[in-house]
């Protein structure tokens, strides 16, 4: 579940966990590792991605949140 942490960039500063509006991220201080602890509680607001000082976070939108798109049916319009 989102967000996705790039381990090569993340320095485990914990700022994303500090500001997450739903507290779904967790900084394991002992292991110095940022964990997506409650991914199913993510709101997909993207605050973590926007505020990450290292650009280490990307958002993935789960298939449960699929958007439904459909082209206007011109045949029906006729």
């Amino acid at each position: 579940m989102p967000p996705i942490i790039d381990r090569n960039k993340c320095v485990a500063c914990g700022f994303c966990a500090e500001i997450c509006p739903v507290d779904c991220l967790y900084l394991d201080k002992a292991a110095k590792k940022l964990i997506v602890r409650y991914g199913d509680e993510c709101w997909h607001c993207g605050a973590c991605k926007q505020d990450c000082p290292k650009g280490a976070i990307t958002m993935r939108y789960p298939l449960s949140h699929m958007m439904l798109s459909f082209p206007p049916d011109k045949e029906v319009a006729k």
């Binding site: 605050a47 949140h65 958007m67």
Partner: protein, 561 residues
């Protein structure tokens, strides 16, 4: 045993929730000389529905709209910031103070004129007076947080408030929990006044994808705890018997429908209302989702759906403008989704759906100073029941509350709180949840609660006496089970447990008040009382609980002037 902080946190004015209303209240009260603490469940930099931004600020500016504010007031009444469930006198107070707040926000560094001048767009009927100031709210929480610090307010992040303590008929303090570490810590607050700014009541009803409880139009942290605390403290709530519904994209639920530049259309691309035909404009978009949010369900049920947001007539400039506006609004995730999944909104329409009841703009009854019926208790924002204005409403009434509280706290003394029985009761409850080794994870009752509310106090289906009766019984059963079975392994889960208990209280109040309204009105459709009782026109139902836990309902006239 639950850990309890030795020190009682003391202040004049306690702000519960560091959103728009809470931070404005903190700034105003601290500027007025009050000692202020802001208790925020997460972090004021990115908490609540305004976490990532907003882009429409309801605003009356005389040099733009003319000297006659009543014309704007009338237009507000026709659209989403008005409607039949607001007091007109409070809406007037709101409009009178909006420009002042816009100026304050500019002074905090919030970009209220991203194009260099005041631009009004969205949420309005074509050809009518536009009154939503288009601004860039991406940095709003950071700016407001800094302004609150500069004013001298003390910010306590990762501290939730669970109870308002009342003594001798007025606010004396609060019970909170510090969730910043793995083990929760109970914290007592002593204060002379408090403001509830805890937002709307999401997660009480299931949404389009119940499996993912946090797939929501607003911030999932806003669960109606402020409504519940006010109710338990004895303050009056208003209009919670009337369900509100909202609309937005399926199945990625996100608010901000006014920022879409598109037309609500059927499968053939034709508009479902006459408001906009041809190419939608940046100025007005399509107000259909505001004024008829249930259209997306209504037309599914009558066989003429689904209904889509149709942006296929937009040119490239408009699409880029919309992308920018979504970022300002804090819903840039939607465009990121389009990019990742290759959705071209110039070729495909996006289906919209109805959002089930969010308990938004129903709740605490306030007056022109944002005071509730309980002395020393204020409220602002989405948890207020008799005035709207959304973002602007939160900011204006937060500011007015802060000013009023700064004066009020000079007139009353602190009261001791340790001897208030609720303190020991809560300590016992917290300890029971925290000490339990085997038991119920919070999601168990949370999902049952949503099912009960949707089945027996529904917002989108008919309601009946029998449904309400069983609802009240089932919720009492669920609450009892929670008291004996809830458990938490860390402070995060502990927070969720307390949220569920708050939600059960709010759900009970919804059922009790819905049962009391023996007529059909708005989304409160009674299968057993199909008529609309005309003697209840322009009357609001007010509810409060007494010290014995009994509900008292009364109808009072809507303030029409």
């Amino acid at each position: 045993m639950i850990k309890v902080r030795d020190k009682i946190e003391c202040c004049d004015f306690l702000v519960v929730g560091g959103g728009m209303g809470g931070l404005e209240a903190a700034i105003a009260a601290a500027s007025g000389g009050a000692d202020v603490i802001v208790a925020e469940k997460h972090n004021t930099l990115r908490s609540g529905c305004g976490a990532n931004g907003n882009d429409h600020f309801l605003c009356y500016i005389p040099e733009i709209h003319g000297e006659d504010m009543e014309l704007v007031l009338r237009e507000v009444g026709n659209t989403l910031d008005g409607g039949p469930w607001v007091d007109i006198d409070l809406t007037r107070v709101l409009l009178q103070h909006t420009k002042e707040v816009v100026d304050r926000w500019e002074s905090y560094g919030i970009n209220m004129r991203p194009t260099g001048k005041y631009v009004f767009e969205g949420h309005s009927l074509p050809g009518q007076q536009l009154y939503h100031l288009k601004f860039d709210g991406k940095k709003q929480k950071g700016c407001l947080t800094q302004a609150a610090k500069d004013a001298g307010a003390r910010l306590m992040n990762h501290v939730l408030i669970n109870e308002i303590l009342v003594k001798d008929g007025r606010v004396a303090g609060a019970i909170g929990v510090d969730i910043s570490e793995e083990e929760p810590e109970m914290v007592l607050f002593q204060c002379k006044a408090a403001i509830l700014c805890a937002g709307m009541g999401l997660r009480l009803y299931p949404q389009q994808n119940p499996t993912y409880m946090f797939n929501l139009p607003g911030c999932p942290a806003d669960v109606g705890s402020g409504h519940s605390m006010a109710l338990r403290a004895g303050a009056k709530l208003v209009n919670i018997d009337i369900p509100n519904v909202h609309a937005g994209p399926k199945y990625f639920m996100r608010g901000g429908k006014g920022t879409w530049i598109g037309i609500s259309s059927t499968i053939d691309g034709k508009p479902v209302t006459p408001y906009v035909t041809g190419k939608p404009s940046r100025a007005t978009g399509d107000v259909t989702a505001d004024v008829w949010p249930s259209v997306y369900l209504d037309k599914m049920l009558d066989g003429t759906g689904p209904v889509f947001m149709n942006c296929t007539e937009l040119d490239d400039d408009d699409v880029e403008y919309m992308r920018w506006a979504f970022d300002c609004e804090g819903i840039g995730s939607i465009f990121e989704y389009f990019d990742q999944r290759g959705i071209d909104i110039q070729k495909e329409m996006i289906e919209f759906g109805v959002f089930n009841c969010t308990m938004n703009n129903v709740g605490v009854e306030i007056n022109e100073k944002a005071e509730s019926s309980l002395p020393g208790l204020y409220a602002a924002g989405n948890q207020v029941g008799n005035v709207r204005g959304n973002l602007a409403g939160a900011a204006v009434f937060g500011m007015l509350a802060g000013r009023s509280a700064a004066e009020y706290v000079k007139t009353v003394a602190h009261q001791s709180i340790e001897d208030i029985p609720l303190v020991e009761e809560k300590k016992a409850l917290f300890s029971a949840i925290w000490d339990r080794v085997d038991g119920a994870h919070w999601k168990e009752p949370a999902s049952t609660l949503q099912q009960i509310m949707n089945d027996y106090a529904p917002a989108l289906k008919p309601r009946t006496e029998n449904l309400f009766r069983v609802c009240i019984k089932y919720l009492a059963d669920l609450k009892k089970l929670c008291y004996t079975e809830l458990m938490a392994e860390n402070s995060h889960e502990f927070m969720r447990c307390l949220e569920v208990l708050d939600q059960i209280d709010l759900g009970e109040a919804v059922a009790v008040t819905g049962r009391h309204r023996k007529e059909s009105r708005g989304r409160h459709q009674r299968a057993d009382y199909k008529f609309t009782d005309l003697t209840l026109n322009n009357k609001f139902m007010v509810v409060h609980k007494d010290g014995a836990g009994e509900y008292h309902m009364e109808y009072r006239p809507r303030h029409m002037r």
